[in-house]
């Protein structure tokens, strides 16, 4: 039973560029949440996707957007990269049909913006 997988594991981009990160949820999960974890801080909620729609969003600008596919996998897109976007981006999957549910996290994608 595969857990949450994210790709790529590491990425270096130049300021102003655009980036796409990918996530495959744990088998049986239909909900994907994305988090940004800056160095020395806890994960911060970016948004959550369920049934191919964004159903809640954190305090992140519109440069951060996402998508969920029919197979429940998800992408996180960040446009016009800033140096401050350098962080570990975590994907977490869960079952969206349950009110009390735990999330399973992937290893993350380390994004460095230079």
């Amino acid at each position: 039973d595969a857990g949450v997988t994210q790709s790529p594991t590491h990425l270096i981009k130049t300021r102003g560029q655009q980036v796409t990160l990918r996530c495959s949820p744990k088998s049986g999960h239909d909900t994907v949440s994305w988090y940004q974890q800056a160095l020395g801080q806890g994960p911060q909620f970016i948004f959550q996707y369920y049934e191919e729609e964004e159903r809640q969003r954190g305090n992140f600008p519109d440069r951060f957007s996402g998508h969920q596919f029919p197979n429940y996998s998800s992408e996180l897109n960040v446009n016009a990269l800033l140096l401050g976007d350098s962080a570990l981006y975590l994907c977490a999957s869960s079952r969206g049909d349950r009110e009390n549910t735990e999330a399973f996290f992937g290893q993350g994608t380390r994004l460095t913006v230079v």
């Binding site: 857990g3 909900t31 949440s33 806890g42 809640q56 996290f105 992937g106 290893q107």
Partner: protein, 112 residues
């Protein structure tokens, strides 16, 4: 707005010492509470969770946490730590909706 405060950013203990990591949250309604652990080089894993019922929750590897509603606290405890408990520990709160708020984390180093 919801927030989570973890009192200690770094904790150093010797093996067999007792551990208590503090966590306070700000939210007035019903909450779901979590402790996650991140071992070196590994992904975040759930240590324990509280949704309802008995406020003393037991998790994996001998960890437990107590939910004290009047103090808005959810402190993590372990009677006797091992070198293998060296990790970063995150307290997290979900106060309804789909957004989970994490604390800044506590880095625990256990000396062998």
């Amino acid at each position: 707005a919801q927030s989570v405060s973890q009192h200690n950013h770094h904790v150093i203990l010797s093996e067999a010492a007792s551990l208590e990591l503090g966590c306070n949250y700000s939210y007035g309604g019903t909450v779901n509470l979590f402790w996650y652990v991140q071992y070196p080089g590994q992904h975040l894993q759930l240590l324990l969770k509280y949704f309802s019922g008995d406020p003393l929750v037991k998790g994996i590897k001998g960890f437990e946490a107590e939910f004290i509603k009047s103090k808005f606290s959810f402190n993590l405890r372990k009677p006797s730590v091992q070198w293998s408990d060296t990790a970063e520990y995150f307290c997290a709160v979900n106060g309804g909706g789909f957004k989970t708020i994490f604390g800044a984390g506590t880095r625990l180093f256990v000396k062998a």
